[in-house]
């Protein structure tokens, strides 16, 4: 671990300016991801701007949406009455992530911006374009069991590890940010990027931009929901594949559907075509299977993640079945 400076401002402006004007400065919230990366030498900030003193922990309902402060803890959000009642899918996704201890430290903003778990990213002696642009992608021809089947490039095939983000993508959330040039809001689908030629950039945030809150619009997805996460042990493991499924049912008829997948791409993978396909269909395994087939169009596997071509659609079916039976 390198030496670094540490500041803990109480003013949002001060925090933003500190990071905006120093390319080697970075925000730290719960630290559960950043500190690990610093210990491994993957990230080497020279200045840490601790944002935990900023008043960004509130969870409240405003107009037509639930507003969740960026510093609200993952555990707090998962157990919050408003979240459980209005967005049970989000609560499920949060509880499927990490462990109780980590959820007690991790924040909403940090969760969205956590970095990939690709082993080549984590080992500074191995090639990785995300960590060191131009060094090559270690995973492309390497052990790519955990890697992407959608939206990858020949520069990077890593996946985004966040569970909460998959639910937020399905729920059409909005991310509120504040930066050196002022405030703006970002549609959730536009927050994370595909790797393309610049895998070192995970998101569309500008330097110094601070996530202040996430807004989840009210909707009808309060009952028939399921966050189904397939992993290599019962808890405390990243997803091989996960599916956030939400249905609005009229009897057995599907009025509206939301679907997003985790563990398959560089960003939470929203399945818009499959959602469309479900509208007006009966909530049966046959409909779910057809939607899964639609969802999988364009998927492509590598040497070790061939199984995802089967696991992903199967998990979509299982998530939809579980949601419909909820």
């Amino acid at each position: 671990m390198n030496q670094f400076q540490y500041v803990r401002p109480t003013q949002q402006r001060t925090a933003i300016t500190a990071v905006a004007k120093d390319p080697n400065a970075t925000f730290i919230a719960g630290g559960t991801n950043l500190v690990d990366l610093m210990k491994r030498g993957v990230m080497t900030p020279q200045k840490l701007v601790d944002i935990n003193r900023l008043p960004l922990t509130k969870i409240e309902h405003q107009k037509n949406s639930l507003r969740i402060g960026a510093l609200a803890l993952n555990a707090t959000v998962a157990n919050h009455q408003l979240v459980r009642e209005r967005h049970p899918l989000l609560a499920q996704a949060l509880n499927a992530g990490a462990s109780a201890q980590l959820r007690n430290m991790a924040t909403v903003g940090g969760n969205l911006l956590q970095r990939t778990r690709c082993p080549y990213f984590y080992d500074v002696t191995l090639p990785c374009n995300k960590r060191q642009p131009g060094s090559g992608c270690g995973a492309l021809e390497g052990i790519n069991r955990m890697h992407a089947i959608f939206g990858f490039s020949d520069k990077c095939i890593a996946v985004h590890p966040s569970d909460m983000s998959v639910a937020l993508a399905a729920l059409d959330a909005t991310v509120l940010v504040s930066g050196p040039k002022g405030d703006r809001s970002i549609a959730f689908a536009d927050l994370h990027r595909l790797p393309g030629d610049a895998p070192e950039k995970d998101t569309t945030l500008e330097p110094g931009e601070l996530i202040t809150a996430v807004e989840v619009p009210d909707g009808h997805f309060t009952r028939y929901v399921s966050y189904y996460k397939v992993r290599e042990r019962a808890s405390y493991a990243f997803a091989l594949v996960s599916v956030a499924a939400a249905l609005d049912l009229d009897g057995d008829n599907i009025v509206a559907a939301r679907l997003a997948m985790g563990g398959v791409a560089h960003k939470p993978w929203r399945l818009a075509a499959a959602e469309q396909h479900l509208i007006g269909k009966p909530a049966t395994e046959a409909s779910f299977r057809q939607a899964a087939d639609v969802a999988m169009q364009g998927a492509k596997a590598f040497k070790h993640n061939e199984y995802k071509l089967k696991l992903a659609p199967n998990t979509i079916v299982q998530a939809l079945k579980t949601a419909a039976a909820a």
Partner: protein, 743 residues
Amino acid sequence: MKAQNKQIGTPMNRVDGRLKVTGAATYSAEYQLPGLAYAVLVGSTIARGRVSSIDTRAAERAPGALAVITHFNAPKVPGFAKGQNPSQPPTAGQPLQVFQDDKVRFNDQPIAVVVADTYERARFAAGLVKAQYVQEKHQTDMTVGTRQAFQPTQARKNPKSPVADYQRGRADAYQTAPIKLEAEYIIPTEVHHPIELQAVTAHWEAPDRLTLYDKTQGTIRTRNDFAKEWNLPEANVKVIATFVGGAFGNGLHSWPHESAAIMAAKQVNRPVKLVLSREQMFTMVGYRPYTWQKIGMSATPDGKITALTHEATGQTSTYEEFTESTVQQSRMMYAAPNVNTRYRLAALDVSTPIWMRGPGEATGAFALESAMDEMAHQLRLDPLEFRLRNYADQDPENGRPWSTKFLKECYQMGAERIGWSKRPLTPGTLRDGDWLVGYGMGVGTFGAHRSKAQTSARLLPTGTVLLQCATTDIGPGTGTAMTQIAADTLGLPPEKIRFELGNSQFPTAPTQGGSSTVNSVGAAVQEACLALRDKLRQLAAASNSAFAVAQKEDVVLADGYLALTGNPAARANYADLVRQPDDALVTVESKPSEEQKKYSMYSFSVHFAKVRVQPLTGEVRVSKLVSCADAGTIVNLKTAANQMKGGAVGGIGMALMEAATIDNRFGRYITKDLADYHVPVHADAPAVEVLFVNQPDPHVNALGTKGIGEIAIIGVAPAIANAVFNATGKRIRELPITPDKLI
């Protein structure tokens, strides 16, 4: 012994439980010595080649840095110069002599150690060391290694070696039989990963006196190894391991980091502490070797095994031949007339493996017990019935009687508890909602080993008996079991017994491993207590003739005085008997008896698993696990059950998730921490039900014990794999059984 067994067999709480849960127990990394310095190892980033140069200047100038040791400036180690192999038992080859040459033999091999005044500064400085290499082509791929497998040197030199080829009847006789199977099984590299990281604090108390606070399973073994390495009299090396936070085998060998810490302490002339990182635990302290196996088996239509062939190739390093008993159980487990085994090694550019809980037997049982299930299925026989039809009433390997064997009783108890009768004969036919359900079983066995052990016993004037022994307690509750044994032998309440361990200056004990501590040290404790009682009788006889003529058994250690049963007048106050500290001190050496030659001595276990499998997603959940053991006398029902449960959970890990993966292009692990090397979490472990036959074995020792630690895990993985087959009809022959393999 007049066995009163008031304590033996009870679920007594751990004598050190309070110390452990309150943080008062001191582990190897927790000794705060004055002037302590901290060392951090730097590992190579290539798997094979030479270190051509190392730039240590930045590290040396870093704040707080005290020394940077590499092969360019390492102090001379006298034992290294002699080129001797200090490890016990010696392996063929030469353990890594750290910093003695420029050769790189595996990725993350220590190439430098950095010492500083704080841990953080040592770590920072270690990051500044930059090495240049001349790289050579490496080989870490077991699929290639298996093709170039060779017979261990030990087997080539000695056809009687346990790892030599074995044959009774015809070799490979299954091949020509009408009902046969041939199947290959693979288990990947697994890593011990006790939660306590490997740690050593080295302190040269004088130029020729070394004290090590070390995470080891054998204080005597460690003492002897480093006495040899540094050319010191054994008495000048002291090894302390009072508490060990789990080891599972990685404390059974001496490792380069220990030598590095000792060197560093010599160099900076201060005590030095070195704690491995979790990442270094993958490469520096051994692992369970990747092993390829093949089973050939034939049977008669009515389910009698006619032939069994078991082949295995285990991974080892290029510089040491690590061998284990992977195929041995196939020689003695079932009564088959034609049996042969072959054991080979594949040398790769990796570090040397070491026994990991259940060692080779656990690996071997995965193949043998899976094959038993496969054959039963082929014969359309219940797998339990198939095993009963091939039950060995005596040891088929040597024709000797078993010292005791209650495996049939285990089968019966376990089958009843799991509800074996609900197991469908046809796989894939039992459901619980969306989930498939299946049942499976696997058998385990491990030698009831016993070796020489010493223990001292001393009566203190207060009436407390102090026992000392160099054994360690890596978690099974050794101190507690010994307290119970001593209490019963002397007829004292456990509060009057103090058992001290984990110090090489105490009477010699074997390394804690191979499920042999209670068999060996337990016997020594019992004998020491008996000897102490007689010593007290003799001391009392000097002033009271009643004691001189008394029967040994009649001597009673009462509260404050020695008494005689049936003679209330005979009394000798402890204060009078013990005037000098050593007046009432005995030290005994207990040895295995001649019976070892007459009987085959084994512990046995059977594990029954009930699993649920999600057919769409391939998720496997173990919903019930019943482990039943024939381990002789159970000294402590609580710690013994705890051992069994821990082993069962380890077996779940082996079956479903554990695998350390190397990217062969770089020869480097890509699993580096406990986030990607999965071990079971609570949600993976059902409440394991443990059953003991609890019948004493009269031949292993006077206590009747046989050992538990290994049989707790041996056979669990195949029980789960067989249950998965029963649930799904899919036979997974390569562990771990992850979702991708089932969809």
